[in-house]
Symmetry: C2
Subunit: 569 residues, 2 copies
């Protein structure tokens, strides 16, 4: 019996001979892309993997971001031992500033992940209040019931890991976001041997990335992008402007390597790009000689064919560098005939139109725009079907839970696992909030904890609910008519108004007649109420709302929000 | 000299020997997908090709549809001789009800196009006021200066045509929307021979569909979809639910043929699907034996494997049949284990998320969902690069104007034309409103007519402008705070209020303290103004707006619209 097995025995004894089940509780990331977060509970110990945000759907008017509901963790505060971060993407670390304010626990992650988390916590002025624990890939963090092992994988960010949770009843492997890249840029391949070793010893549960489960075959190596870049750089005679995700440091490395080879100075544009490239260089993930980097102020001092500008904005985000370049509102970079613009990314679902608009603007201004649809200038960071089959073959888990995907991705991934030998009864397509209890032989969903989306708007976290959103949708589509009338309640007469003020409804200067008619209607409604001795505000307001609503709908087939205000004098 | 040549001579004489130029004036469809409309002016005659609408972008809050600005046509009312419709899709006929109300001119089109236009004009209760002239593919409509020839092409709707405009200075060919389908369902192939004949005699100008200019190769024949359908129908054991565009009558025919072959009754669901399938059958474009069609009420009388349900909703539109089926709100159809749902369409850019949601919901309810990303169950109606090259080869035009596309499509199509021999100086990437003047040897953009997007919201056409849209955006993202205060101007005191009413801002019950603080701020502002003898409403309102805005932004980093109303007593 080796040391770790001995500890396992000890740890089992702690629950006094009785084997308690392992609980798996996804708080986000299932049935959606984003806000990945999963809790694992054993005995009196809870650990959490990842703490991500989601970007708001278009029906979430005015919302900045969406984070998971962590009521369950707060209720069990004393049990929660740490958050373990697989990698530094927003959908895995973005909720940390909000969650750590509610429950301050240690955060474990690799160097690159922590570097990005630090930037975030600094922004929120809370870096000094938080405990960040750096781990190496391969390292094992020992808690009372859990041992948390970081296993290197490959993804579109350096230092990404899968996590193996060693528990008294067996090993649970969480793949994290991953692909199998046989030729990664940093030459650090996913630790498939450790996967195989764990599989050989027996894996209780696998939870794995479903993002690309619908795609057959293999995801191409990051290196293949380098070949396309090399080809493009070799024939470019003007400036090269490349847009990609700032966190895709290996992409930045390849862009930089090409630039260096062709004697092009490199300038970074966009706050995220500047921050991340600086952090990645400081931490030893991005290697660019100091003298090859210039600031945007300096680009005017170099000939076009000696310049590469690396920007944010690959998703057409309205304030990002490339979008500003396309709209001619960038302070330093204006498109010239002969510029080559490379968008080295694919549009995230929902961003297709914004990206198209940027491409059209750039071409119209004379740029030669290279993008994914016309050239292989991007590869995914997520495993396709064959890679998903590979990790099934290595791990041979007893139970399987597909994660990180919409329902169709989870469903398809479950089918893949079953075709690789996982029992159908041992495959669980979970929803956020589900409590899956596993023992060595059986699994069962036994309950539900609070779950859902908490909306972040400005400084407000969770103060925007469905009613406010419904109002915003209504205001967005129809505008508002405010009706103010001052009533002398003693004498039952209108003493001022009605004043009609509208916003987002019609252009008032062209609609004076309509507004006059609304005013007449309100006057009639109020006088009629007063004549009939109706003096309850609520009733008068309802009458105003109903009559104005009917009139406007009849006339215009529109339903603006009607907001009556009665001033009682 | 044959008869038509004689007429050409006569027509030339009308301009008294002096050759006037042909003017081409796109009013919509350039730099965008949608609202296709082009005016052609020669001498004292104007004709128009197509009259389409565009679907609103997501930033057009509350807008139902977008139509072209036709100020130019209204100004030249007496010159405009007719609107010639290439085919019956919304982006080519959808603006007719609005435009015909402004300028009532004859509409020429093939039988299927007019059938769909009639449905539309009936909805607007204006069918009897309009002049619809039916033409056959191959027919020539003779006006004073123009002869308008309809040439059959292939597209994702029956009876689609290109148009050749014979003018005194030469022939202009407008491709309409087209693909080259060598095996069309109705066996009526695009009239490539007529294209060749015109090309042989000399074509002055080609304007052609750029939608798929970025796609290499050929667009597959509609018949290839039939093969996939046949395969799916042959293995289905439950109900088959197929969603597609109602106007894709050839697709409906193939779905019906498969259903008939496998003894499945056919039920149509969704208003558009019911209307169009009925019209297409009545007009002789869709052939289904009467006894194979059943109503939705009757589906319960048939076993699952004897049923095909054909629905609207292939774009995830919120009220369409398939969306209601997915959400379990359809009155007749509820997903059962074993249902096969075929989405025989591709998401139009912008609809990707809505379609994904429908797919996820259907799979979650137990349906086997077949869609474009996982099986070849749809083909485009637009020509790819090789087909675009083919018509260049047949027509060999002197001048070329790419149409029907965003800038990148037009740009790429222009390059294709140039590589086929069109002179670069004779290639014009136009914008809406441009006036291109052509004579036999030269072309030049000589001016601009009014152009742009007219917004339709309910019954209102063009009454929503940028100010209203800006307000709607602001309301959508931040909500509104209405501040009402009644002031006794004689005594310079507040006699009622301030009343604070917010919508879409925060959930008021949880924010009483905040609202109280806003009330205090307004009281202070107003009292301070009155103390300082400021009695101009505008100034008091501005002070209220500024102070409340600052307070809310400091506290919450939000910027709701502030609407102060002062009631003077």
């Amino acid at each position: 019996m080796n040391k770790s097995e001995l500890e396992e025995v000890k740890s089992n004894k702690k629950v006094r001979g009785k084997k308690v089940p392992l609980k798996i509780i996804p708080l986000g990331g299932l049935g959606e892309i984003g806000k990945n977060m999963t809790a694992f509970e054993y005995n009196d110990e809870i650990i959490v993997i990842d703490c991500g945000l989601a970007f708001p759907d278009e029906d979430l008017y005015g919302i900045d971001s969406v984070i998971p509901d962590v009521t369950f963790l707060i209720k069990n505060k004393e049990k929660v031992k740490g958050i373990f971060i697989t990698h530094g993407h927003e959908d895995h670390i973005g909720a940390l500033p909000y969650i750590l304010k509610q429950i301050n626990i240690p955060v474990y992650g690799t160097k690159m992940s922590l570097g990005l988390i630090e930037i975030k916590l600094k922004d929120h002025k809370m870096l000094n209040d938080c405990t960040l624990v750096m781990v190496e890939p391969g390292e094992l963090i020992k808690l009372d019931n859990f041992k948390v092992e970081f296993i290197r994988n490959n993804h579109s960010i350096p230092d990404s890991c899968s996590i193996a949770l060693h528990t008294p009843i067996g090993v649970a492997v969480h793949s994290g976001d991953f692909k199998v890249d046989f030729t990664p840029i940093d030459e650090k391949m996913m630790n498939l041997q450790r996967y195989a070793e764990l599989g050989k010893r027996g894996v209780l549960l696998l939870m794995a990335d479903s993002t690309n489960a619908l795609h057959k075959g293999y995801t191409m190596s990051e290196k293949s992008v380098g070949e396309t870049l090399e080809h493009l750089f070799s024939k470019a005679s003007g400036r090269i402007i490349v847009s990609t995700f700032a966190s895709n440091v290996h992409r930045l490395q390849q862009i930089s390597d090409c630039s260096i080879k062709y004697g092009r100075k490199i300038a970074f544009s966009g706050r995220g790009m500047e921050n991340v490239s600086e952090a990645a260089r400081a931490l030893g993930y991005l290697f660019i000689p100091e003298d090859m980097i210039i600031s945007l102020d300096e680009i005017k001092n170099y000939p076009n064919d000696k310049l590469t500008i690396v920007t944010t904005g690959s998703q057409g985000e309205s304030m990002a560098a490339l979008t500003r370049i396309a709209a001619s509102t960038h302070r330093h970079v204006h498109i010239q005939e002969g510029d080559m613009v490379i968008i080295s990314a694919a549009p995230i679902p929902g961003n297709e139109k914004a990206v198209s608009n940027v491409i059209n603007d750039l071409i119209e201004k004379g740029a030669n725009v290279i993008y994914k649809a016309i050239q292989d200038i991007h590869v995914s960071g997520h495993a396709c079907e064959q890679e998903l089959r590979l990790i099934q073959a290595l791990l041979k888990p007893k139970f399987f839970v597909p994660v990180h995907g919409e329902y169709r991705h989870l469903f398809t991934h479950a089918k893949i696992a079953q075709s690789m030998g996982v029992d159908k009864a041992n495959t669980f397509i979970l929803e956020n909030g589900d409590v899956l209890e596993l023992n060595k032989t059986n699994g069962e969903v036994t309950g539900k904890v609070p779950f859902g989306r908490v909306l972040v708007d400005g400084m407000g976290v969770g103060d925007i609910g469905n009613m406010v959103l419904r109002d915003r949708k209504n205001l967005a589509e129809n505008g508002i008519i405010t009706v103010v009338v001052a009533i002398d309640m003693k004498n039952k007469i209108i003493i001022s108004g009605p004043d009609i003020v509208s916003r987002g409804f019609v252009y008032v200067r062209n609609s004076e007649e309509l507004i006059d008619q609304v005013r007449d209607i309100v006057t009639n409604v109020v006088e009629s109420c007063l004549d009939r001795n109706i003096t309850q505000w609520a009733e008068i307001k309802n009458s105003i709302r109903r009559e104005v609503d009917n009139f406007v709908y009849d006339r215009m087939k529109r339903k603006p929000m009607i907001l009556p205000v009665i001033v009682e004098i």
